[in-house]
Symmetry: C2
Subunit: 187 residues, 2 copies
């Protein structure tokens, strides 16, 4: 069963609050005004910058996140704030498959992946963008920059039937269409 603990100070200090399922606004629970550190005890989770699963996404796999720097993927997109949380659906590190398409609505060149790719350009993907994608199995995280940096997007087979017709369907912030790395989520 999924579980995660939040603290309102860095290094697992201060008040705390334990989550076992979706939480649309952590500031309404357990008197936590803010979140400064997180421990993921079970399952993989997605955290969002704003309530109701809005704003920047942050993948949180099992382990310790003692400060904001531990969940923010890149210094260019610093976020102090995590306000909503949910477990990732259907992550399967051994059996995951995703198809990338160059154009929107599953048009143009495509490429099927079943392994992690820290550099899509290195794999031969000519474009800096991905127009649309289909998750055939498992759960994935796609990133703006090579090496799993920059904006993060969690993509699950069990959400939207795994179909993302345009960039805006997988981004919750929509600042850029760039995707330069992608990997499987580990439960």
């Amino acid at each position: 069963p999924a579980s995660l603990t939040l603290w309102d100070e860095e290094d697992f200090q201060g008040r705390r609050c334990r989550l076992l399922s979706d939480c649309a606004n952590a500031s309404e629970r357990g008197a936590l005004r803010r979140v400064r550190s997180v421990k993921v005890e079970n399952s993989a989770w997605v955290a969002y910058e704003y309530p109701d699963f809005q704003g920047q996404q942050f993948i949180l796999e099992k382990g310790d996140y003692p400060c904001c720097g531990a969940w923010s993927g890149s210094s260019g997109h610093h976020s102090n704030q995590l306000l909503s949380f949910r477990p990732v659906l259907c992550a399967n590190h051994r059996d995951s498959c995703v198809t990338l398409f160059e154009g929107e609505n599953f048009q143009g060149c495509k490429f099927e992946l079943s392994d992690d790719y820290p550099s899509l350009p290195s794999m031969g993907w000519a474009s800096k963008d991905v127009g649309s994608l289909k998750v055939n199995s498992g759960a994935w995280v796609a990133y703006q920059y090579p090496g799993y940096r920059g904006y993060q997007y969690v993509l699950e087979q069990d959400r939207h039937s795994g179909e993302f017709h345009t960039y805006s369907e997988f981004s919750t912030q929509a600042h850029t269409r760039q995707l330069q790395s992608i990997r499987r989520v580990q439960h």
Copy 2:
């Protein structure tokens, strides 16, 4: 053949300088006082915060890095500065193997990996630290936090014979012994 281009302004603007091999101090070449954006055209590279391959390490695989936020793995360890660069040796995304040891000098519990692990705790690695490690083939990047965040350490089979007896042999900054994720380098 390895190649990488540096610019002294963000978004690939300003003066530029192209590297084809090891460069111990970029500020002594091509009149670049500083590095603000990078394109990796071929091979994977490691960049360092200070001259002579000292300070924080940053893995740079093929792709575009338009600003500091694109290479810094985490907002907690912001580095504006890249001053030395070298190609990564022997990266092999399909055939890589590393053994982690709980204690220094290859003592204690061990675990052999040949796949990427965004969460070592999730894999069953009980400790937050790794005491020593042997790279049996390929090149790897290990990270302080889960999900490939925080301090980065490049580990190659062809350097130190792939043997890292203590934390200080693979870290060039030695702030912490924590390793919570590890992955193969992609050429």
